[in-house]
Symmetry: C2
Subunit: 444 residues, 2 copies
């Protein structure tokens, strides 16, 4: 908690909910509008937020929600945003199941270098089985959940080795003597593992923050283990303070058990704040955002969590169907949450689908009210900070202009950027090069 | 030739030659300096040039020249440049041997979208066998030259299918009716070939230019066949007008033989112009650029063409060694040119290596002289245009300020950008969506 509350913005184009794009204040082509992404990033930077974040997936069907059908790829759009911002962190989602570690390490390092040390990597394992079809495999060859996380652990290990290919003082660049670099400070990866083998050195140096910051959002047992072993920022969307505290406590405990400093594993919550001058106005805005969801659309969105399962085959007003383990190789934690909630509250399929479609947020009301809730979550062990999912530009603006100043008054958030890198903003330590450390150890 | 001369800039950081970085006017960290890349792009855009271009490779050894050891990845740096430029084309090198078509199609399309239709793709097959080591393979599993080009042809076919996933009017985005897109205008790739299989639709639409422009530089028989079947701009570095005319004629003939309009296959030459107020000054500048190359460095650079062959094992003052097919799986056309030149002119190894190290250019002298040579090449069938390899910022500036206005006076080059896309600049047609064409054909 040394650096105060973490605040980032997920820029999510025309929105996660199927009907967000119809809102009068969202450009209907927001998901491929550079101007939209730039505007959201500049509002966030004006608020001195820690980072902007771009989510990702690599499989669509005609039933996918509008934003998924047609959107920017994260590394390209974030590189473009690097050029028009100067301080804010830039977090790119990239799959460890369907990428090559050398190419991934390189693009993330290149974003990190060109932004002066502002890159982060949200490591995902690709929950959609259909992704396999786009990457040369049969659908049933999509690796099983546990294997995906084993791949992710090894992938991340290789990427970090590659990021340490060059010690920080490897490049001497002395024009007079003609010495460009010190070959003793170049290190080849020499990795030969279960899933990946990489022998060479990366052809790009480390940035001012040493390595990009690794983000992770796995909530299953496999996901939590991977996150506590590897990530520096973990996030979840729990929606209520009790579940958030449970998650927070669990992740911090796991970090301590693996011998890490729990302060160096930041736990944040994705939230959808709705801020307005009055409580009534805030609720009216939320109403507007869900007015047009049909049952058909709600069922399609529900199906996506279950790896595109077709829910129209069931009677909508009968109890939530028994799915018998179906989709367990998809977004497992979402599936468990949905089924558990439906059983507990005795919901019909229609009720479960519409509940999932409605934006659930305790962060709704006046700036004072929302700032108070954030402080409560932050001070009582529910989160080290928040990722704002506020694709309505006016909602991001009202948060930055209404809530952020109140957080400052309460001593919870920075007045100015005190450092230049994403690690500086987050209060995470510079990541030492493993070989430099090894060298020093020998000298001691 | 309808649109006049093509002019682009290769931005190449601290330079291809091993000692360029020592020049007083080049920042020694140019290869990872966003400011350097931005400045070169803005000079080029001020001159109304067609494009900037970023080369690439994915394997280094401690013997690699400085620029190769530590440089930006093309798609990330070009996305950043997209945000700070408004007209100039952006051409990214990407390997068809060590990438996935879905990921490649997507990043190139994303760059194309965020730049408003300014992207190009330089398709390469990765000449360095060591690349295999960084991508999970044994070195001897680097695919053989002919196979790499077969892969390239199929890779490009899949990428283009994916780029046509959405017809240009597929996205309706009518907020009132709630119709976001027309499912009949979404097309899955359904590709199942020798090397690649991709089933899905790309999750990004086409840009205002339809598809990115494909560049290619293969000079071997395989390379030329691939280029004439697939590319829209081909380039070579022939260094003298006779060889350039042969290449030009050959490529145009091949295009015609495959049934293409030869005007839609632009043939350009990479050149290193050295422009100064006087001829003496120009020659002095060139002298400065090579003053410090040692034999050892020249041999290492020579070796890179031969897939990192170690030339220090030979007597430098004996005749150029008989290599017996060695390195033929690398950059084959370079190898043939070097060996042929050494045999023809009876060179020793030292002479061949130093010849390769020296910047060879007939485009040296006053602006009038260089403009005259360019006009000669352009008007007598040696090239449709030129890619400037001028990493000394002052050389790019003196070309843009001295030579470009003279080309305008001669009616050879544009005064202003007349269109907004890279295709507009190059005079290449908008690339129709294959499915839209098919639909129209049925109506006729």
């Amino acid at each position: 908690m040394g650096k105060g509350m973490v605040l980032g913005t997920m820029i999510h184009g025309a929105g996660e909910r199927r009907t967000d794009w119809r809102h009068p204040a969202i450009p209907s082509d927001a998901s491929t509008s550079f101007d939209f992404y730039k505007k959201q990033a500049l509002i966030s930077e004006r608020g001195k937020l820690d980072f902007v974040f771009v989510a990702d997936a690599m499989y669509i069907t005609p039933q996918s929600a509008p934003h998924y059908l047609n959107r920017f790829e994260p590394l390209t759009i974030l590189s473009a945003l690097a050029a028009v911002t100067s301080n804010i962190g830039l977090v790119a989602t990239l799959s460890s199941t369907y990428s090559e570690p050398y190419a991934a390490a390189r693009q993330l390092a290149s974003l990190d270098m060109l932004s002066g040390g502002r890159a982060g990597w949200n490591a995902v394992t690709s929950g959609l089985g259909g992704t396999a079809l786009n990457f040369g495999h049969r659908r049933d060859m999509h690796p099983e959940h546990g294997i995906r996380y084993r791949m992710a652990a090894e992938f991340t290990e290789v990427v970090r080795k590659l990021w340490d290919s060059w010690e920080d003082d490897a490049f001497i660049r002395d024009k007079d003597s003609g010495v460009f670099f010190d070959p003793k400070k170049m290190h080849e990866a020499e990795h030969d593992g279960e899933f990946f083998s990489v022998k060479g050195a990366l052809n790009i140096a480390r940035s001012p923050q040493g390595q990009p910051v690794i983000f992770q959002a796995g909530k299953s047992e496999d996901g939590r283990r991977f996150a506590t072993d590897t990530a520096e920022v973990v996030f979840a969307i729990d929606g209520e303070i009790g579940a958030a505290r449970e998650y927070y406590m669990d992740m911090k405990k796991r970090a301590a058990r693996t011998g890490r400093n729990p302060d160096e594993l930041l736990v944040i919550q994705g939230i959808s704040p709705v801020v307005a001058d009055t409580e009534e106005e805030a609720f009216r805005i939320r109403e507007e955002l869900t007015a047009t969801v049909s049952l058909e659309e709600a069922l399609a969105d529900l199906g996506r969590h279950f790896d595109h399962h077709d829910f129209t085959q069931y009677e909508p007003d009968a109890p939530f169907p028994d799915l018998d383990g179906l989709g367990a190789n998809g977004f497992r934690s979402d599936i468990e949450r949905i089924i558990k909630g439906a059983r507990r509250d005795g919901l019909t399929l229609r009720e479960a689908a519409m509940r999932e479609a409605a934006p659930k947020t305790p962060f709704i009301g006046t700036p004072e009210h929302v700032a108070g809730r954030l402080e409560e979550w932050y001070r009582t062990g529910a989160a080290d900070g928040f990722m704002l999912i506020a694709n309505l530009p006016s909602l991001l603006e009202s948060f930055v202009e209404g809530v952020v100043p109140l957080l400052r008054e309460r001593g919870l958030f920075r007045e100015v950027y005190e450092g230049t890198t994403l690690r500086d903003h987050l209060g995470l330590p510079f990541r030492e090069n493993r070989y430099a450390r090894a060298g020093e150890a020998i000298l001691v």
